[in-house]
């Protein structure tokens, strides 16, 4: 019979297709870390045949969270998605997230104590504030603000120590002096910070300076504006002064800010650790004409190193219309475990600090370059966004900061005016 081999093949194919579980996965990683996530997904799909992860990258920020919410309401959600810890309060308010039970975690051989404790604690607080309990996401990483520097330019300016690191800076005055020296000795723009159509970067620097003075925006889960007029204004004034003196880039967009630094036209860059792959890849391809270093954002007010940070989570959308089948759940948990266990160091290659403790403790991670230059210090200094639904990625505060602080950086308004307008905006959001 000539038909039988074909028939057998057909049967084999259908049974294989039948057995394979598809996992639809949404993320928002479009940059260097997106390449890392793609690699993890590809490796996972290649490593076995029972589960196939279909990854789709959506637009970062507000559009992502709007899309997730509409998907939840329509009952047509992905099976798994990435999420920001800072967006969790808002997500819980909208009931977009499904909690992970201990049994769920066990399906992937995980437990909640496997993850960095402060992130899990924040998730628990978020749940409590929303009037519920449970673990609504699994932390993948911590990501924070770091300083990238051009060693060649800094050496020329005489502010680079023998150890290849910036000379210590203990106060805002120290940092300002360093920036001034760079400017006068080399003529290169000292610091690249994007502020044109990039409210997130402005917020990150301002919030770090605000935190280091001991400022807070949320007290007992409620919005608190008392520190804004003092510490908040001081932080904004520093940024405005740097801008006025030409010490930071004025009105550059995000890609332009990165381009200025990588082209050697800015001595330093303040940006998230997710730009690490950009530097690593450029260096590997010999496109970088200088030696670079990375350090944690310095403590400029005594010993308080607090720096803005956020965390990426893996989360399951709360699909009330179509409840997840046990097979699907098993597949999702298997993939989550893979991302954290086998994929952990690949993800760390994106510059992030992995939150899965065994990865964090692994020798491979501890020796990873250039991450070791900042990861230990940065992990300690990392302070998450205020735990309130109006803050965080996708919330309205980012826009309000961009709209009200950018004119101050451009010298079109005073710091006092900028803060006053932000206060009004925050009060409106909290209504």
């Amino acid at each position: 019979m000539r038909l039988s081999p074909l028939l057998a093949l057909g049967l084999a194919l259908t049974s294989a297709a039948h057995a394979q579980t598809n996992v639809v996965f949404w993320d928002f990683f479009a940059g260097g870390d997106g390449a890392r996530m793609k690699q993890i997904v590809d490796n996972f799909n290649a490593s076995q045949t029972a589960i196939k992860v279909q990854r789709t990258t959506q637009t970062w920020g507000n559009p992502f969270y709007t899309k997730v919410h509409t998907a939840v309401i329509a009952g047509q959600t992905p099976d798994l998605m990435t999420y920001h810890l800072s967006a969790t309060p808002a997500g819980l308010q909208r009931k977009d997230l499904r909690a992970f039970s201990t049994a769920d975690l066990a399906l992937g051989g995980l437990k909640s104590t496997d993850f960095q404790a402060n992130l899990v604690a924040t998730l628990n607080t978020d749940a409590k504030n929303a009037g519920t309990t449970g673990l609504y996401g699994l932390p993948l990483d911590t990501h924070t603000f770091v300083v990238y520097f051009n060693k060649d330019v800094l050496k020329k300016a005489g502010v680079l120590g023998a150890n290849g690191k910036l000379l210590p800076m203990k106060s805002v005055a120290d940092l300002t002096k360093t920036l001034q020296t760079i400017k006068t000795k080399t003529g290169v723009t000292p610091l690249a910070l994007s502020s044109n159509q990039d409210s997130a970067s402005v917020w990150r620097l301002w919030y770090s300076l605000f935190l280091q003075q001991g400022g807070t925006l949320v007290k007992d889960g409620k919005l608190s504006l008392t520190d804004l007029d003092t510490k908040g204004r001081a932080a904004l004034q520093i940024m405005a002064d740097w801008s006025k003196d030409g010490l930071i880039t004025k009105n550059v967009t995000y890609p332009a800010g990165v381009a200025l630094f990588t082209a050697g036209r800015a001595a330093m860059m303040l940006n998230g650790n997710w730009e690490v792959p950009t530097m690593v890849d450029a260096k590997a391809k010999n496109q970088l004409k200088f030696d670079y270093g990375i350090m944690s954002f310095p403590a400029l007010y005594g010993t308080n190193p607090s720096t803005w940070a956020d965390s990426h989570l893996l989360a399951i959308p709360n699909n009330a219309k179509t409840v997840m089948t046990p097979e699907k759940l098993k597949a999702v948990m298997t993939f989550i475990a893979y991302v954290n266990k086998q994929g952990g160091n690949t993800w760390a290659g994106g510059g992030h600090i992995p939150s899965y403790l065994p990865t964090q403790a692994s020798a491979a991670y501890k020796g990873m370059q250039p991450n070791t230059q900042y990861s230990a210090t940065s992990a300690k200094a990392a302070r998450l966004e205020p735990t309130n639904a109006i803050f965080g990625v996708g919330g309205p505060v980012y826009d309000a900061v961009g709209v009200n602080f950018t004119p101050v950086l451009l010298g079109q308004a005073t710091a006092q005016q900028g803060i006053a307008k932000l206060k009004t905006a925050l009060q409106n959001f909290a209504k």
């Binding site: 709007t66 509409t70 909208r94 004025k250 332009a256 996708g394 826009d399 709209v403 004119p407 451009l410």
Partner: protein, 301 residues
């Protein structure tokens, strides 16, 4: 008809059946349009109206709250800022866009050669999607790398400057859409009978006089149509603002639809956002009616 005692002539039922069939055909042809119209226009309109009386979130689940949204809206300074900015934007675009369109149409018609090439050049931006247009101008007017500032030595941050942001967006809008107005004006100008011009020329009219007494009054129906279209289009300004300024700096470019977007999509206040939509619709209706009245009066005199 059914109670009619006399038997009808044989031809009549035939004609009735034919007539019925024709109605059926007509109905069938209209149904797809009607269905889409009801589904995507009438239904959403009434739904928004209904939502504006609820505290619904983005997805439309909420309870009735009466006029609360309207009371809040009219007491909200941000709403008045947005309304004022929208009106300012209209002032900066509707009339200039019409006048520039008219001017360019007159110039193009005077060309002897390359008329179509020039017309195509002016019309080309209109074909571009808004994202392309805003990207182009974001680069041209960029304060650091932009062509414009490079050539003029200016340091103005066009889309981030509290004074210049709205005029800059208005300029981009005119550049983008004026081609359509030129096209309408050219059609209107070609419709004016050459005999009128000849008669006027015989009477010794020329230049400005010719334009004022012949072209302008004869073109008025087209002009008023363009003004009305412009008014409605500019009231609905959103895309360019969203892509170029996000409403900044200091809410100086915050317009009504962006305000509705922020409330609806960022803050998940679907009910309140619908209220903004309803008020915007009412304002557009009101202004259109007033404008139509005024313009029609102009036509009659």
């Amino acid at each position: 008809m059914t109670s009619s005692p006399a038997p009808a002539p044989a031809a009549v039922p035939g004609r009735a059946a034919q007539l019925r069939q024709r109605y059926l055909t007509a109905a069938l042809l209209v149904v797809p349009f009607l269905a889409l119209y009801v589904l995507f226009l009438i239904y959403p309109t009434f739904r928004v109206l209904q939502l504006s009386f609820t505290n619904a979130d983005l997805t439309g689940n909420g309870s009735y709250v009466g006029l609360q949204n309207y009371v809040r809206l009219f007491g909200e300074p941000t709403f008045w800022t947005a309304l004022l900015n929208t009106l300012l934007f209209i002032a900066l675009t509707a009339v200039p866009n019409t006048l520039i369109g008219l001017g360019l149409a007159l110039l193009i018609l005077r060309l002897n050669r390359l008329k179509n090439v020039v017309l195509a050049a002016f019309f080309l931006p209109y074909v571009l999607p808004v994202s392309v247009v805003t990207n182009v101008w974001n680069w041209v007017l960029d304060s650091n790398f932009g062509l414009f500032n490079f050539l003029t030595g200016s340091t103005v941050t066009w889309f981030q400057d509290p004074v210049w942001a709205l005029p800059s967006v208005a300029f981009v809008t005119i550049w983008w859409t004026v081609g359509f107005n030129i096209l309408l004006f050219i059609a209107g100008l070609r419709n004016i009978s050459p005999e009128i011009y000849e008669a006027a020329a015989l009477d010794g009219a020329a230049g400005w006089r010719l334009f004022r007494s012949i072209t302008w009054p004869n073109l008025w129906p087209v002009t008023s149509l363009i003004l009305l279209l412009q008014l409605i289009a500019q009231f609905k300004i959103f895309d360019q603002i969203y892509l170029l300024t996000q409403g900044g700096p200091f809410d100086k470019t915050l317009v009504l639809l962006l305000y509705a977007y922020r409330e609806g999509f960022q803050q998940q206040r679907g009910g309140y956002s619908s209220t903004i939509g309803v008020v915007l619709m009412a304002v557009i209706l009101l202004v259109s009616v007033i404008q139509l009245r005024l313009l029609n009066r102009g036509e009659k005199s």
